[in-house]
Amino acid sequence: MSKTTLGRLVLVVVVLGVAGGLVLFYLSGPNRLSQETVAALPEGDAARGERVFWAAGCTSCHARPGAEGDAILELAGGLELKTPFGTFVAPNISSDQQDGIGGWSAGDFANAMLRGVAPDGSHYYPAFPYASYARMRPADIADLYAFMRTLPAVPGAAPGHVLGFPFTIRRGLGLWKRLYLDPEPVIALGPDADDKTRAGRYLVEGPGHCGECHTPRAFTGGSKTNEWLAGAAAAEGDGIVPNITAGEGGLSWSAGDIAYYLESGFTPDFDTVGGAMVAVQKNMARLPAEDREAIAAYLKAVPPRPNGYPARD
């Protein structure tokens, strides 16, 4: 190989490398909502937003760990989520101007919820379940924004995440979002599906973010939508999160059983809710009965799958 050929080859490699880098840089950038979408956000209604707040389970992660009673409305953050990627710490999302999100516009809030993008343009980690919230209606986001502004301002920032390389590179999440951020419904419902089932799909797949724990994840951390709600190894510890489809090992409960469980915490065989689901069930109990019935109707309509986690002996 002559010197000039080698030189050309090096040049080509460098140019390709730079071009590839630029493409990756472009692809990994923040994909914010359009200005039109932000401008079209309606004025939120705090009373309606409270219903969204319980459906979306914000307090389960963002209240101080162990908070009970009215303290669950103080969204100071601090809860640790120990995952294979590292330890995520829920941030302060109270209405505090400095340490919370009190200084955010409705557009900032909508970009966080629907696109996982912070006001400064950086990506949030999907421990914040925006892959589900991305399916929410902008009007619900506006209502939730209005409600959260009525909650107490709590000073004090939560500690940062403790992650290992390469998960420390937030920019890479832009690529992850290209794979996993999709506002479309996961489960296609036929034209004969009733309004209740559709409402349940919205609640489960969107604000309720049930799939975040009940659907197994690929090694990338993305939900395996072909095993939707089939149950999964728990993100923390070595327990499992149950299969809530009607497949083998899954739920054999009636719609009434499911709705009653979400209301009371009692299973049909009089075991009770446990683990992380306790906080979820408490939130669900605050919803109107029609929402729990809708969730139940949707779960009965989800395609049955065998357990999404390995069997134990």
């Binding site: 070595d238 009371s264 009692f266 446990g274 134990r312």
Partner: protein, 145 residues
Amino acid sequence: MKRLFVAGALLAVTASLSFAGAVEDRQAVMKSMGKALGPLAAIAKGENAFDAGVVEQNLTALNEAAQKLDVAALFPEGSTTGETEALPAIWENMADFQERADKLKADVAEVASAVPADQAGVQAALGKIGQNCGGCHENYRMKKN
């Protein structure tokens, strides 16, 4: 030395045997509470009509089962082996665990002493009792399958 080893082994065997007993006993207590809850919930849900006799009978059974929840006897330290979903967190937070068990007993006893007179009363009673179930199972039990 050999004798010591045998003694140690025997001790270990007895210990695990007694744990097996504790695990079985506590599961039996939980199951009998569940059994008593069934007919109560059927009334709360409206599946069955309110029946004062059924309510009283099952609240009595529930209370009897709940009062058997002797933490020291049923949850000896280290009884996390075998077929149990009890988490080590129980023994790391024994004071809290004990407090929660005491509160469950007190709440069930209170409900059983003033038997509800209608469906709404049963719903309220189950709400009060159910908080205790979830409160403990949230941190101290892990689903394994």
